[in-house]
Every structure is written in structure tokens, then in C-alpha cells.
Amino acid sequence: MKRISLFTICFIIFIGSWVFLQFVIGGVISKPIPNSVIGMYMALVLVAILVHVSVEDSRFLEFLRPIHETLVDDKYRVRRLVLVIAIPVLLTGFTYTNLAQKTPPPGDPRDAHPTPPLELKYKDEVIETMQKAQNPYRHYEKDDPEAFKSHVENGRRVYYDNCFYCHGDHLDGQGHFAHGLQPLPANFQDPGIIPNFQESFFFWRISKGGPGLPASGTPWNSAMPVWEDHLTQEEIWDVILFLSDYTGYKYRTFGEGH
């Protein structure tokens, strides 16, 4: 039985990796992965293959042998002809699909998170610097659990009166209106949202909404209303307490560990 060449093995690994990412991880196990990310991973697979085959001279020659034979050996004239036609055709197709006018709209060009201002404001009143501003009702969590509970309950009311239409019943960004929005509303159940930001950051995003987003990192495309026009400071702080209480995630703090 003829031994499979190193080149063929590498080719199978390369195609296998793509199938695994595209259909197994991006289909069976989880949700589809964007093509750009798959492209990035495939570049790494290619690097890994090239590193493996080229570290030793003997292995590198073994890897190159079928390429060399295809290019010079008359035995492989048909294969050569097929490749000479197929490679330019594939490259043409690739170039065309990349350059052709696309009908679907592009993704969201915004930054992952907007840069907050240095000062936290409610309407025009400066509350404190963004670094120092704290939820004035947070201390009730330890000092007066009953008062804390009532603030959380008030936050729950505010949330289900105003926010759940977009951010969802379960705070997972899957509200009734979510499917009509791009970008999708924030998913507070995601482990990367609440734990990475201070409460002051959330106060700023809620109070200023989409129109209050900073000049840097534009263009923005947020449908978030300016809630300071409709909610009091207390209501905003309360809804922030509720978000954390419901999801179980704690906001970013800068404790005495430093």
C-alpha cells in the first residue's frame, strides 16, 4: 500500500481544521464563527504546519517533494494542467468575492466599549470624577439590608418599566425590540460586561444613552435613549443595583488589595 505523503497529511489537517471550526464548533457545538475569525485561526494552522515541516531539512524536502514532482515530472502532466487552471480560477473567484459590491450591510464599526468621560454628570450637574463616583445606595448592602432590598426592588420596577423591551426579561439582551437593533442591546448575563466596569460607568451609559457617546471611537450606532431625561438619579442608581443583584455579577471595584 502506498504511503500517504507528508504534503497530503498536512493538506488533510488544514482542511480538517477548517471543517472543525466551521461546522463542528461553529455549528454542532456552538453558534457560527465569523469568517474573519476562522481566517485568523486558519492562518495559525498554516503557520503550525509550516513550522512543523520546515524545522528539519529532511522533513522539509519530504514536504516539498510532491510539489517539485508535480512541477517538473512528466508523469504528473495532467495534475499540473489541472492546477495551472484551477489556482488562477480559485484566486479570481476569491478576489471577486472580496471586491464585489455586497448587499448585506457591514457589521458594527463601534469600539467594544466607549471611553467614559473623566467626570460623571447627571444632566449638567457634576456628581464626581468617574474614578471616585460610587453608588450612594451600595453601602446599604452591609449597613441596612432592608433599605438595600427596597432600592433593588425599585431598580427592578424601573428595569421592567423601561429597559426590558430591549435588554430582555432575563437581562440577556434578547428583548422584544432586540432583533430590530444593530448593535444588539447589552447582554448583562455575559461575564465580560458587569465585572469589567464600575457602577459609575453604567450610570454614565444609562444617563447619557446613545447621543452621549464620546467623539472618539465613532461612528456610534446606539439606540439607547438619554435616560436622564426620564429617570431620577436615584432610579438610575437603583437599576444599577438590580442588574448586579439579578445576574449575580459584581461591578469592577478597586479594593484595598492594591
Binding site: 456552538s30 528539519e56 448593535p183 469589567n196 479594593g255 488589595g257 492594591h258
Partner: protein, 636 residues
């Protein structure tokens, strides 16, 4: 006829040159016609003030990094040569310092250019900074003189101070490093202060504390003294300026000891070693590729190996130092931290991951290639595919963006259910990335361990148990790092940042330390089954060394853009606004272009300096050869 055509050609070039010079003078003339008395800013002709300062500063820093990094390991190598009495170490250290000498004057020249550009383009900023840091600038000049004369003595005295003076020569080498490190620490104060003009309460003098309390009350007369101090602890960051007038309130030392000063010092100190090692490795690779004799090939192969080893020694702790710096930036100002990791500069950190991935993959590739020239080195080849897989998977995790909205189509975003992929998106969080980095570092360490063991067989009776213990240490270390990484998804960020991540680092360092100690004892009296055939390494591996130097340079340029750009529209963050036409933060693509231009200029200058060294060497060799021929003829 030929001579005439050459003359004509020369004349054409001369005329073209004069025309070009005239054109440049005409185009820059309006800029110099600006009012030069009380201007806040003066535009730099053609490329603009920011680009001029950027290019001059980055080139100065790249050369500075090289001349500060190289003496650190040159003096260690010289010491090894002295103790082991192996002349080749002394030759290599001398060659390193020779490269340094060429780059030293260029560094000083670029420093001068930078000062002129800053004084001309940003007089008000420079006046503010020199008003605060005046004494440190005088200290800097003294240090610079110290370093210059020590370097001259160290370099020119190399041959004279052999034998019984070697100890003194080594002392000069150490002194050179003391001057160099002090110079860097001093100049770091100015730029770190611009980024983080504040310090913690516990570091303030009573006088500054009082001045700050008074300025807070003056700013808001309704506040009482106790209200100002209400939530203030020893760790609270206190600005060193009156927040209304911008007047400096502190002492020089408080400005020096600002929030990011020490993290930047340590990050740059380690970075200089890595960068210096990579540049000398690239130099050795170039000399290897052009070498004609077997001896030269062997020497430069060995030099390249040492350069890469030094670069690796710097590269391994570098991510830890970088993490500390990032953490301090968050601690100083959360807005700046979010801007860095989650907003405007977040994609830069994806680029950074790709480039550090290239560095680690390249460094491992070089080690694995090197095992091919050791008899008996192939024993470890069977582990290689798994190590490649581990490194590549970890690099993949490190370079996965948290939010994919910028690189996805609208339909892909809908299919994912938002900008964050439910599973792949988890790789974008720091706990996953930190875990991946630690595993990459341990795998690279394993490659180095295999390299060290190649061609050797331990003779100690406990070699079997020793190998089992080493395997168990590695296994437990990796499992602990992964478990901590997984736990990191579930705990508060404060705990992850301040407890879990440092523990991952401690575990990685402990594994490396424990295994190194055990391995040294195991292989102390090892029998050597094969020799290293220096000079018999693939040319591909040498190109990898050059690629590593290029990657290091680009990485430094890009991260420099992040460090400086983080201030956004401020000369001194939160204190002095940038109101010039260049106040905007350049986009990532624009920064990449500028850094690429800087990199090309840097390598052109470095190439020229190396070529000068080679030229001088050739002339010397020719003279020696001529002398030998004359001597032979007169003997006849």
C-alpha cells in the same frame, strides 16, 4: 568616454539634488516665518509637529534601548569568559560593545534632534515640564557624561585591561550599566508624568497633602476639611496639580514617583534586554548568512544562539511586567484603562498578541532548528508536534478579540446573537488570555530544557525519579494555571486582578525555577553523547532571527503609540490640554503606517552602522594580509 558619461551622470545628480534641496527649503519657509516669541505651538514643516516628534522620539528610544540593553548582557558574558577562561566569550562581548559604540553616537544625535523638535514645536509644554523637572534634567546631563566616558573607557580599554586588570574592566562594565539604567529611569519620569500626573496619598509629603486639601476647598468652598478627606485612604490617587488652575502642588520627587514610573522602568529594563538580544541575534544571523569560512559560520551561529537566548530571557518575564503596567494604568485612572483595553486602543492589543505570538513561535522554531545540529538532539523531536499545537492554540486564544462586531457582517452578528460569540468570545477575557500566556511561557521553557539536554545523558542514580518529579511539577503547574484561569471567569474582577493572576505568574515562575534547579543537579556530571556542530544550522532559522528583531521593533513602536496615545487630547493627562492642530488621536492604521516608516529608517541606520563595522574590519584584515605578504617577500 566612460569617464565623461560618469561626469555627466554626477552632474545630473548634483542638479537634481540642488533642485530637491531648493524645493524643500521653499516648502518649509512659511513654517519658519511664524511668530517665534510667545507661540504655544509652532508647526513642523511638511510632516507636522506630532509626526516629527513621534519619529524622533521613537528612533531615539529604539537606539537607546539597544545601547542600554546590550551592555547588560555584554558584561555578564565577559564575566563568564573571564571565569571559564574561554576566549570566545570575551570576543563576543567585545563585539557586542563594538556594535554599541556605533549606535551610541546615533542615540545621542537623535536625542538632540528630539529636544530641538520639542523645543521648537511645543515650547509651552516643554516650559511646563522643565519647570517641574528642572533638577532632574541637570542630573540627566551628569549621568550622560558619566555614561559616555565609562563607555569609552570600557570599549577602548578592552584589550589593554586584560589579565590582572580584567576585574577593573568588569567593574567599568557594571558602572556603565548603573549609569545607563539611571539615565533611563530619569527620562522615564518625564513621559510617565505626562501620562499619570498623580500619586497615592501615602507617598505625599505633609506640605503637598495640605496644598491639595486647600485647593480642593478653594475649588468647592462648601466642602469642609473632613469632607474632603472622607473617602480618602492611603491608596487614593491624588492629583499633583490644582484642578482649576493647573498649578503644580507637589515636590520634584512626588512628580518623579508618579503612578506609572516604576512599572514603565521595569518594563523597559526587561524590554531592553530582549530587544538588545534580538538585534545582536539578527546581526549574527546576517553575518552567518554572508560568512564564507566555516569558522565564521560557527562563530556567528553561536553568537546568534546566545542573542536569541538573551532575547528569550527578556521575553519570558516581559508579559508579567506589561500586565503590572496595565494594572497600574487602570488603578491611576479607570477611564484610561477602559480606553486602553476596551475602547480606542483595544484592537492594538490584538495586534500585540499576534506579534508576541510571532516572537514565541519564532523563538521556539529557532531552538528546535538548533537541536538538529546537536548529535542526539532528535530524541526530543517526537514531542515537537504537541508543543507546536499547544503554542498555536494558546496564541489563538490570546489573539481572539472579545468583541467581534468590527470584523463581522450584520448577518454573522445576528447568527452569533451579538458582538460577543457565546464560546469563542470567552477567549477575549483577560482570565483566558493570561492562562494562555503562562502556558506559552512554560512550553517555551520546555523547548529550552530539551535544547539544554540534547546530546547529554545524566549519570546521577536518581535520574528516573528526577524526570518523574520534573514531569509532575510541570503537570501540576499547568493544571493549576488552567484551573485558576477557569475560576477567574466566576470571581470578582478585583480578586482576579489582584490575587488570581499574580498566582498564575507565581506558579509559572516557580515551575521554571524548580525545574531549572533540578535539571542543573541532574545534568551536572552528564555524559556527552554528541557535540554541537556550530555553523550547521539551516539558513531558514537565521531568517527567523531577523524576523524576531523586526517584530520586536514593530512591537515597541506600536506599544509606544499606545502608551503615549492613551493621553488622547492632553499633553499632561487631566492637567494640560493639547490645543494644537495635532491634538487628535491617530487611527490604528495611521499609527501602523508611521511605525512602519520608523522601522524602515531604524533598520536602514542600524544596517549602515553594522556595515561600517564590517567595512573597518575588512580594511583591517586586508592590511594584516598585506603586511604578511610583505613580510613573506622580504624573507624570500
Amino acid at each position: 568616454m566612460r569617464k565623461n558619461s560618469l561626469l555627466t551622470k554626477k552632474r545630473v545628480y548634483l542638479i537634481l539634488g540642488i533642485m530637491l534641496l531648493g524645493y524643500i527649503l521653499l516648502s518649509v519657509a512659511p513654517a519658519f516665518a511664524q511668530d517665534a516669541t510667545d507661540a504655544e505651538y509652532r508647526p513642523f514643516p511638511l510632516i507636522g509637529s506630532r509626526n516629527a516628534a513621534w519619529i524622533a522620539a521613537q528612533l531615539h528610544l529604539l537606539f537607546g534601548s539597544f545601547i542600554l540593553g546590550v551592555p547588560m548582557f555584554a558584561v555578564i558574558i565577559e564575566f563568564i569568559g573571564w571565569k571559564t577562561k574561554e576566549e570566545r566569550y570575551d570576543r563576543m562581548a567585545k563585539e557586542f560593545i563594538k556594535l554599541c559604540m556605533g549606535a551610541f553616537s546615533t542615540t545621542a544625535l537623535l536625542g538632540g534632534v528630539l529636544v530641538f523638535v520639542l523645543l521648537w514645536c511645543y515650547p509651552k509644554v516643554m516650559s511646563k515640564l522643565s519647570g517641574i523637572f528642572g533638577p532632574t534634567m541637570i542630573f540627566y546631563v551628569i549621568l550622560f557624561f558619566g555614561e559616555t566616558f565609562t563607555l569609552y573607557l570600557y570599549s577602548y580599554g578592552w584589550d589593554k585591561m586584560q589579565g590582572r586588570f580584567k576585574g577593573w574592566h568588569l567593574f567599568l562594565g557594571v558602572l556603565l550599566n548603573v549609569w545607563g539604567t539611571a539615565i533611563m529611569f530619569v527620562s522615564n519620569t518625564w513621559l510617565t508624568y505626562q501620562t499619570s500626573p498623580g500619586t497615592q496619598l501615602r507617598k505625599l509629603t505633609e506640605k503637598t497633602k495640605e496644598a491639595w486639601i486647600e485647593s480642593s476647598i478653594a475649588q468647592n468652598p462648601e466642602l469642609t476639611r473632613s469632607e474632603v478627606m472622607a473617602d480618602v485612604t492611603d491608596h487614593t490617587v491624588i492629583p499633583l496639580h490644582n484642578e482649576t488652575t493647573g498649578e503644580f502642588l507637589g515636590t520634584v520627587w512626588e512628580a518623579v514617583n508618579n503612578f506609572t514610573w516604576m512599572p514603565v522602568n521595569i518594563h523597559r529594563l526587561i524590554g531592553n534586554i530582549a530587544f538588545g538580544g534580538s538585534i545582536v541575534a539578527a546581526y549574527a544571523a546576517f553575518r552567518f548568512l554572508v560568512a564564507k569560512s566555516k569558522e565564521d559560520k560557527a562563530h556567528y551561529d553561536w553568537m546568534g544562539y546566545n542573542g536569541n537566548f538573551i532575547a528569550l530571557c527578556g521575553l519570558i518575564p516581559l508579559p508579567f511586567a506589561g500586565y503590572w503596567l496595565g494594572r497600574e494604568i487602570y488603578m491611576f485612572n479607570n477611564t484610561m484603562g477602559i480606553n486602553m483595553m476596551g475602547a480606542l486602543f483595544s484592537w492594538l492589543f490584538i495586534l500585540q498578541a499576534v506579534m508576541i505570538g510571532v516572537l514565541f513561535i519564532g523563538a521556539n522554531y529557532y531552538l528546535w532548528s538548533g537541536m538538529g545540529r546537536i548529535d542526539g538532539g532528535k530524541v526530543y523531536a517526537r514531542y515537537r508536534p504537541y508543543m507546536i499545537a499547544v503554542i498555536v492554540i494558546c496564541v489563538g486564544i490570546w489573539m481572539t478579540p472579545r468583541t467581534l462586531s468590527k470584523i463581522s457582517t450584520a448577518s454573522e452578528l445576528s447568527a452569533m446573537g451579538g458582538g460577543n460569540h457565546p464560546h469563542i468570545g470567552l477567549f477575549g477575557l483577560m482570565t483566558a488570555k493570561n492562562t494562555a500566556v503562562n502556558i506559552i511561557i512554560l512550553t517555551t521553557f520546555l523547548s529550552f530544557l530539551f535544547y539544554r539536554r540534547s546530546g547529554k545523558a545524566p549519570t546521577v542514580s536518581w535520574k528516573g525519579i528526577g524526570n518523574i518529579i520534573i514531569s509532575v511539577i510541570f503537570f501540576l503547574g499547568v493544571v493549576s494555571i488552567v484551573v485558576i484561569g477557569i475560576v477567574g471567569f466566576t470571581v470578582d474582577t478585583d480578586i482576579r486582578v489582584n490575587i488570581l493572576t499574580p498566582w498564575q505568574v507565581v506558579i509559572a515562575l516557580t515551575v521554571m525555577f524548580a525545574v531549572t534547579v533540578l535539571d542543573i543537579f541532574m545534568y551536572r556530571k552528564a555524559s556527552t553523547s554528541g557535540t554541537i556542530r556550530w555553523g550547521q544550522i539551516s539558513e531558514r532559522s537565521q531568517y527567523v532571527l531577523i524576523l524576531l528583531a523586526i517584530t520586536f521593533t514593530s512591537l515597541m513602536g506600536l506599544m509606544g503609540y499606545a502608551r503615549s496615545g492613551l493621553r488622547e487630547g492632553w499633553h499632561i493627562f487631566g492637567v494640560m490640554k493639547d490645543t494644537s492642530a495635532d491634538a487628535f488621536t491617530p487611527s490604528l492604521s495611521s499609527a501602523v503606517n508611521t511605525v512602519s516608516v520608523i522601522m524602515v529608517i531604524f533598520f536602514a541606520l542600524v544596517g549602515f552602522i553594522f556595515w561600517l563595522g564590517l567595512w573597518g574590519e575588512k580594511k583591517k584584515e586586508n592590511a594584516v594580509q598585506l603586511e604578511a605578504e610583505v613580510a613573506t617577500e622580504s624573507d624570500d
